[in-house]
Symmetry: C2
Subunit: 654 residues, 2 copies
């Protein structure tokens, strides 16, 4: 099939509608070198090209052929949402197609565009005449539909299909997949609605996801009824239609909720949709709820890595300040959902703190989910693996895995990495806002005039970001807004030949705002201080009492056993009175900056058979003797890439 790309402007996962009440509009930051470029190259050259083969092996593509009647056999996979692995891969591949496609260069894998066409054809072939599409229910359940909205994931699957279709349309201008998605959405719109609406079912899906997808479909097509349907779904959670469980977001309506609760990914997708709705409709109550819940989440339920979800058994948020290390769930998908939601909040409000959480999440809780070679994955992202850990294997293993029985995370990582340039900058009529620093070109729009700023940086390894104005209206002042990260204690900025420090270029609510008229070639150099630092938690975070974490810039660090021969990690302590040292290690883990700290290995008393002792039996707080040990901390995102062993982020202080 010839590739008939109509070359629309590259547009990302969030495109605001014409009436959106957002403070900012998304801009694009073409990434062409540096930290994220390397990660995206691996995504483009390894992860995405390997997708179709893995989807074939796991049976996902076979299921589509079964539904189309072009193959025979049993439906494969353990869950009713296996189709979404295909959709998320299609979305990832579509964002990839919108760029240079390195996978096309390689001889071993079929060119990406042809693979996308092939798989879209499989999807289209599986769709039923009335628009319904779910291979699990079509094949295993004899076509029975919507009988088990709590667990069936039919609308969840529709949501990922719609997102893939919107991505494909935005990336290629082509309609094949969008037509499939619209048929499904039209079908849903004929089935779901309030009592009295003429629709037969008043219900929501146990896993929110279709809501934010429907808003994007509205944005892509201009069809208002998709937005209305999204609004109906969002407001029907919390009314007991799913049995009233927090797990399914059904315990309390979002508008009344005091904090985030239940299954983390479900909560976050629902909040992304609520933010989309507030953005498109100006619903102040929804906006207020989203702001309140974001505050409650980040202040009391977020791990240092940006990871979310404290419990394994229901993949859910815990109580406030319940942030375990070894049992941190921090599902990779929850990190992705958090970025998606925070980005919507950043656009809606214009506030910099959302970019702070996005940065923290991207560099830590998200990026740890994929191996450096792009071939192995983590579903859960603990902050500690104990000495003597017995790994249970399976999806929730603390060891990287080639693919999962529930393979939601890998293609989700692929789609975020492939579309990453759309989460980094924004613009409004007054100027360009840079939320995240990369090497590339930030392209904003002042309403009537484009602005283009070229950026060069070795961030996060070095703190200097060199910005050069390439396109600007020559007669109109505008503001270049630079997010000064929340972790940053010292910065300075050079504008032309003049240097400002933080006294004469102060930050306002996270933004350093440089106003004025600009000419091509104008240069700004931002220097963010990257001294490594020790971090402590709110005293109510019981899990890390008496501990510190090492951080540098946006990176959270951890110790791995492999760097500390001669013992485990759980008897090490850090000496916080000694300075931290930085070592650039181009040889290590694809090139990282390590942080070296002084510590020692505690001599632990022989506890006999009982590990608890009266304080009178162990009086005072005599310093623990022990062999001095040099502690080598690596960035958390790079852990579990060498050998199995223990790991820890939070270190007891001596």
């Amino acid at each position: 099939m010839p590739r008939t790309r109509t070359a629309p402007p590259a547009q990302g996962p969030v495109r605001l509608g014409p009436d959106a009440r957002a403070a900012l509009r998304p801009a694009v930051a073409g990434i062409d070198a540096g930290f994220w470029h390397l990660r995206r190259e691996v995504n483009a050259r390894t992860s995405i090209p390997q997708g179709p083969g893995l989807l074939e092996s796991a049976g996902n593509l076979h299921n589509l052929r079964l539904a189309a009647g072009t193959a025979e056999g049993e439906h494969q996979g353990a869950y009713p949402f296996v189709d979404t692995d295909v959709y998320k891969w299609l979305e990832a591949a579509s964002w990839q197609l919108a760029q240079r496609t390195p996978a096309d260069d390689g001889p071993e894998v079929p060119p990406l565009a042809a693979e996308v066409d092939r798989i879209i054809a499989l999807v289209a072939g599986a769709q039923q005449p009335d628009g319904y599409l779910n291979t699990w229910f079509q094949i295993r359940q004899g076509g029975e539909r919507y009988r088990d909205l709590r667990w069936g994931h039919e609308l969840y699957c529709a949501g990922h299909l719609i997102q893939a279709a919107v991505a494909h349309h935005r990336a290629t201008g082509r309609d094949e997949l969008l037509d499939v998605a619209r048929r499904f959405a039209d079908h849903l719109d004929s089935v779901f609605g309030l009592p009295g609406s003429g629709r037969p079912i008043d219900g929501v899906d146990g896993h929110p996801e279709v809501e934010t997808a429907l808003v994007e479909l509205y944005r892509e097509t201009g069809e208002r009824r998709y937005l209305d349907l999204a609004g109906y779904f969002v407001d029907r959670y919390g009314h007991g239609l799913l049995g009233g469980e927090a797990y399914c977001q059904d315990r309390v309506p979002l508008r009344e909720a005091a904090t985030v609760e239940g299954h983390a990914v479900r909560q976050l997708y629902l909040l992304a949709a609520a933010t989309d709705l507030a953005t498109e409709t100006g619903d102040a109550e929804l906006r207020s709820a989203a702001e309140r819940l974001w505050q409650a989440m980040t202040a009391t339920k977020t791990h240092l890595t940006g990871g979310l979800g404290a419990h394994h058994d229901a993949e859910d948020f815990g109580d406030p300040y319940e942030l375990p290390n070894e049992r941190a769930y921090c599902e990779t998908c929850a990190a992705i959902a958090s970025v998606q939601w925070s980005w919507r909040m950043a656009l809606l409000t214009g506030e910099a703190r959302y970019g702070d959480l996005i940065e923290r999440t991207l560099y830590n809780g998200f990026l740890a989910g994929v191996s450096l070679d792009g071939e192995r994955w983590l579903y859960v992202n603990p902050l500690q693996v104990r000495d003597g850990h017995t790994d249970t294997g399976g999806d929730q293993s603390a060891r990287r895995t080639r693919w999962f029985r529930c393979a939601c995370c890998p293609p989700n990582v692929m789609r975020l990495l492939a579309g990453l340039e759309h989460y980094l900058s924004s613009s409004d009529e007054r100027g360009l806002q840079i939320h995240q620093y990369v090497t590339g070109r930030y392209r904003g729009d002042l309403g009537s005039a484009p602005v283009v700023v070229r950026a060069e940086t070795d961030y996060p390894w070095h703190g200097a970001v060199s910005l050069t104005v390439e396109e600007t209206p020559d007669d109109r002042p505008w503001t270049l807004s630079l997010r000064i990260p929340q972790w940053c204690r010292e910065y300075r900025v050079r504008r032309g030949t003049r240097m400002y420090d933080q006294t004469d270029a102060p930050v306002t609510e996270g933004w350093l705002r440089l106003e004025g008229t600009w000419a091509p070639g104008d240069q700004v150099v931002l220097e963010l201080g990257l001294e490594p630092r020790l971090t402590v938690a709110d005293p109510r975070v019981d899990a890390v009492r008496g501990c510190v974490a090492i951080e540098r810039g946006p990176l959270v660090y951890c110790l791995e056993q492999v760097d500390h021969p001669g013992g485990g990690l759980d008897d090490l302590v850090i000496d916080t009175t000694r300075p931290l040292a930085v070592k650039h290690r181009p040889d290590l883990l694809g090139g990282v900056t390590t942080v070296v700290a002084a510590g020692h290995r505690r001599q632990l008393p022989d506890g006999g058979w009982w590990p608890y002792r009266s304080t009178e039996a162990t009086p005072g707080t005599a310093p623990e003797a022990g062999e001095p040990v040099e502690l080598t901390a690596i960035p958390y995102y790079a852990w579990a890439n060498r050998q199995n062993g223990s790991m820890r982020v939070w270190l007891p202080r001596s």
Copy 2:
């Protein structure tokens, strides 16, 4: 049906066979007043009598009628092991029948003996001609058997039936239920065995339990093949017959295991059986494995309360020193299984430390499982409920519940309480060993001569135990061995008119041994020091770093929110430099001794939206200001008997 009690000697849950290689033999300690008598009165007057009504409401008895063909309808209950709720109740009621039966006195409930007869008839009626009995498979699975040993619980159910039958036979001398159990055991013996044994199935149950029951059946009947079948089962775990999962005890053979792992109750029942086998057969390798695993468990995987199991999702042990507070699983059944196993270890080895763990578990992790009124239960027993806790309800709620969907714990509590007098003392040819202190009569057997010692004590509220010899051979010296609890720092003992302190009456491996000839009326008074104490954990227990727990005697204490008005618990700290005070409170929680400590309420910094801070932003360790607060600690077993709210065992020190 007339009650034809043949009045055998009261015999408990563990009766050793004639060839047993145990260091000690179980003795009986008739409890007639004091702490445990009160708890057992509630068990006898409330919990056990309410059992049949609850089993009727939940459908368990209906299921038996269905299987017998004497009722119509659907099988009730969510699990294939619902029959065991009936069996465990029958076991509890049988141990109760062996004693004074206060329930017979009340007018509202049917006399217990008649209830037992009625329910045994239901069980017998449901049994199939070849001995098989499981209502789930007989009714729901169309009689299909042993197709899903991993999840089916058919042998697990058989085990509880056998234990109930042995209890009924020992308590009443009657055969009705024992005949049912023997038919089932004979059936199992015809079905399960090694390849080549002529039995059709080489397999084990996903939930160990039948093994220890079969050993008891051997002990009760003298039939060696039941012991052999138990040995076959124990040794077939760990060979992949169940898929090789640690959860089902199938990852590694017990003889090779380095530590406890997997589902806690499964592990503990299996270890109880292994200990039984080592006891009856002299298998040194099994004994060694049991000793090794007990050591590993207590030293690294036991909560301060004796609770076991660190994870909710698989009800399993965690890694070494992974002992969370708010997510401590500590299933009530695991505490019971731990007592059962440790008692077997105590008899096998003669060592006192097993009694130490039994005491700790009984007074804390076990007893917390039932409310003071005997009507509500905890399945999980956390060591912390956070301020702002959102309770999910269900079986794993931190709120007491009337009955569970999986109602394994309540009748398990009933059977341990009803048979408790059999876990407290032992004897051998050289004397009587008192493992636990109660008011009552310890009746031992020196081989040829009985010894009876009367005990009076207000333990654990007061430390004095007055012991009077009532029966003794007059010409033969023997040793009265008293376990000096591992927590005890000071004790003294008066023998006749002479007082000894710990210098002149030293403890040898936990035992204070008083040798000599005795005459009726001879008196010994043991005084155990009960000064309240602060306890710390091994530094590797990350969950409680910088915290202390309050203990007094065998009791672990906790704070409850209801005693600390004006705020939550998570911002309180304890001042460990100030003395602890003891207050006896006969009005509170059925009469408890509280411990009062000095503390204060921390003034926490406003964390804004992010709960982590650089140490440079919060330099030094300036003392936290805050309002002084008197901390009132209650015994952990009594928590959750007043109102919902937060609770904590481990308290941050100021």
